[in-house]
Subunit: 459 residues, 2 copies
């Protein structure tokens, strides 16, 4: 191990030079003018994989951008890590807000600025370099690794599902590892072990069969905007709890270990509220803000519309009002069941003065990788060694669909080992990766592959 | 009188021929390609006024379309009627939905179809013909008449206010007469003696200082759409009463005479609801539908918007949500006071988790011409004689701004003597005037000018 880590230490300059090469390729997957660049990037990744000692390197064609695969299976009896990442990047507009050109990686202070530096080229490169360090010094890895690097993450991974379905045998492994997220804060390494799911609904409330004049008809019938507002208002009680019947039935309670772990994270409600321009936060009583954000289900209005929304005054009493309402769900809630409960509830509370139609637009399941699982424990040990600091546990309020798909299609839990920072500007101008995190990430990756078999044995 | 009425009876064919001439002029005030037609129509009106014996006929230029004025002041000691109407018409699109060409008046069944037949050329023409009948047979009128026919009613009467302000002496009179509305129903002549006013507001609710990801932030703060919905939901209590503090303080209660008058009108809640596609009506408890529509103030959401309103799902937790909310007000409420009460109320009920901004967009006062006033009583007597049927009393839920302006600028009450029908398609294809109403209208107009001095004397 010492040899491997020394190698990392003495190759920093070379790492940066190579990373700059990768970041120079404008592999913007959403822009067809960059199709050749995106393909070129897939080839760069394949070449790099061969150079660091990966085997069976293949570029798989898809109807969109190619998927790059490789493996090193020389550790029989040891766990197999399926590493997932992406080589495509977001567009760079507005270009004039970049301090240095997005495809000319530039170091300012402790950060390296470039499109893709954090999301996700910099983070896949971290793992290339830890693998290389093992191979160059020991000629082998402590675990088996399969790498799956796609080129369409920033455009919805439209072809990934099919690829996974068609290559279940090839992708067989013991756990998924993804480095495409952020640490809790600078200097605070963390492991993310849970994600929320989603049930996204559209509600249509119909009153009269046509738009009416609010003077000639106002006062005789139930305005659908009013009816919709009344229904929305009733979806939370005064304690901020969601009133949809049966909504909380399948919610896995937070364990004492988790609540204690969240409490260790540096957090200040006042500072958080101030940053958002709010005088007061809001949410379900009996839970801290982080608990509400990560481990409690929520119901949010994502959009509402109806009647006249232009400039000035129009005295219309509209026929219809609409809302988009989504629920973030947590283990062990099920998006299909929650969608059905919501629909039933809305129909039940709808007044007889209007008609209500509810459509499920989109759903995704929550995911959790138990804190005590060998993957998470290996990540914790690796982060402590890589950053010299005990990492904290966190969950994430959003969803990462691919995590759910790996669980569904391959039966694998995912370890999220993020080396970005919350303000890294992943989809905005001046994206960066912090250099301490970059080099700490390589060390952590080295340790992770070394630690995993130990924890796996005790599984 | 018999002579005058016989003249009307024997000139029906000529009336229709002349009306067709007026209706053939495409005086669409909103379309500049019709500017010459609109001016031509003003000239047609002026020529007609001269022909029927009106004096001092003048075409007043305005920054928009001209105003036509004339007078007959040969009845000293008798009341002076200021008759208001408009010679401009709505556009005709979609043309393909017209059964016969909009500017070629065509009789089908009992109706004459053409743009402007009811709104308002047909109705001003009714008064031209009753004046003509008096002048041709008696050489004089029973009252003094001033006629003010504008060409911008369909585009908001932008230049009328200034004209009235600048010609207060010229327009001096005792009451305003307008025939630009509808009877309660076919075969049911009615006098409209009251209009509601308006206080139109915009509400802006701000939560966080930027749009947020509903996964990463949902559960920690008050969604402004939810907050706005909660505020809107609270504006009516379970009896349909408006909860804005002080809102009902200045509402003049319905008199027993009025409630009894409304009850005489043929009305069926079930039929009304069915026509609007509703299973159940809604409104303030303790009042009939017509009372709620005409004589009770209301609060309606005219528009609402916030967050994502496009196709599909976007997981945004928006920074802002907006609503347009208007209140129809009744005598003796005041639009400025109501706007202030609303603003105060919204700020009072706003939760601390959001900020609320309220803007008054538009206001107008309610109007009422007492049932016992000579103008209304003369209209009742005239309708009974003109249609052979006792007319009923009604009010109107909407506002007619010019009525409020005549009261404000000239101190005059208005009598609304409408000969249209509720389904006349005034702003739609296949506008028509019913021929019984047209000829009944001419007889009623003849009687009105004859009856008015009698009631005026007893004032």
């Amino acid at each position: 191990m010492q040899q491997v880590l020394s190698f990392v230490e003495s190759n920093k300059e070379r790492y940066l030079a190579q990373l700059k090469e990768l970041l120079a390729i404008p592999s913007v997957s959403s822009q067809s003018t960059h199709n050749a660049d995106t393909r070129g990037c897939a080839e760069w990744v394949a070449t790099e994989m061969r150079a660091i000692g990966m085997n069976n390197v293949q570029i798989f064609e898809t109807p969109g951008h190619p998927i790059v695969y490789s493996e090193w299976m020389g550790a029989p009896g040891k766990p197999t890590v399926l590493f997932y990442g992406h080589y495509d990047v977001q567009p760079v507009d507005p270009l004039n807000l970049w301090t240095s050109p997005p495809f000319e990686a530039t170091i300012r202070g402790d950060n390296l600025y470039a499109r893709g530096s954090a999301d996700d080229k910099g983070q896949i490169f971290i793992h290339f370099k830890s693998i290389e360090a093992y191979m160059k010094n020991q000629g082998k890895l402590p675990v088996n690794i399969k790498m799956l690097i796609e080129g369409e993450e920033e455009v919805g991974s439209a072809n990934l599902d099919n690829f996974v379905k068609e290559h279940k045998e090839l992708l067989k492994g013991d756990l998924v590892l993804i480095s495409d997220s952020s640490m809790f804060a600078k200097g605070i390494p963390s492991v993310c072990y849970g994600l929320r799911g989603l049930a996204y609904m559209e509600v249509e409330v119909t009153g009269p069969n046509t738009d009416l004049h609010s003077g000639s008809f106002g006062g005789s019938l139930h305005n659908p905007i009013q009816a919709l507002s009344e229904m929305i208002a009733s979806l939370h009680d005064k304690n901020g709890k969601i009133t949809v019947k049966g909504f909380y039935n399948d919610v896995r309670p937070l364990s004492n270990v988790e609540r204690a772990a969240f409490k260790k994270l540096p957090w200040n409600d006042k500072k958080y509220a101030k940053g958002l321009g709010l005088k007061q936060l809001y949410g379900e009583k009996g839970f801290t803000t982080l608990e509400r954000l990560w481990a409690r289900p929520t119901l949010e209005c994502n959009g509402i519309w109806g009647g006249y929304t232009g400039e000035g005054a129009k005295t219309v009493l509209p026929a219809k009002a609409f809302a988009k309402i989504s629920m973030r769900i947590v283990p062990d809630q099920d998006s299909t069941k929650i969608a059905r409960l919501f629909e039933n509830h809305m129909k039940k509370i709808a007044p007889k003065t209007v008609q209500v139609k509810v459509t499920a637009l989109h759903g995704g399941e929550p995911a959790i990788t138990p804190i005590k699982s060998p993957g998470v424990q290996a990540a914790v040990a690796a982060l402590e060694k890589g950053f010299g600091k005990k990492p904290l546990y966190q969950r994430e309020g959003g969803s990462i669909p691919i995590v759910v798909q790996f669980k569904k299609l391959l039966g694998l839990d995912t370890v999220l080992l993020g080396f970005g920072l919350p303000d890294e500007n992943a989809h905005a101008p001046n994206e960066y990766i912090n250099l301490d995190n970059f080099f700490g990430g390589i060390r952590t990756s080295v340790h992770f592959y070394n630690e995993l078999p130990k924890y796996w044995k005790n599984k």
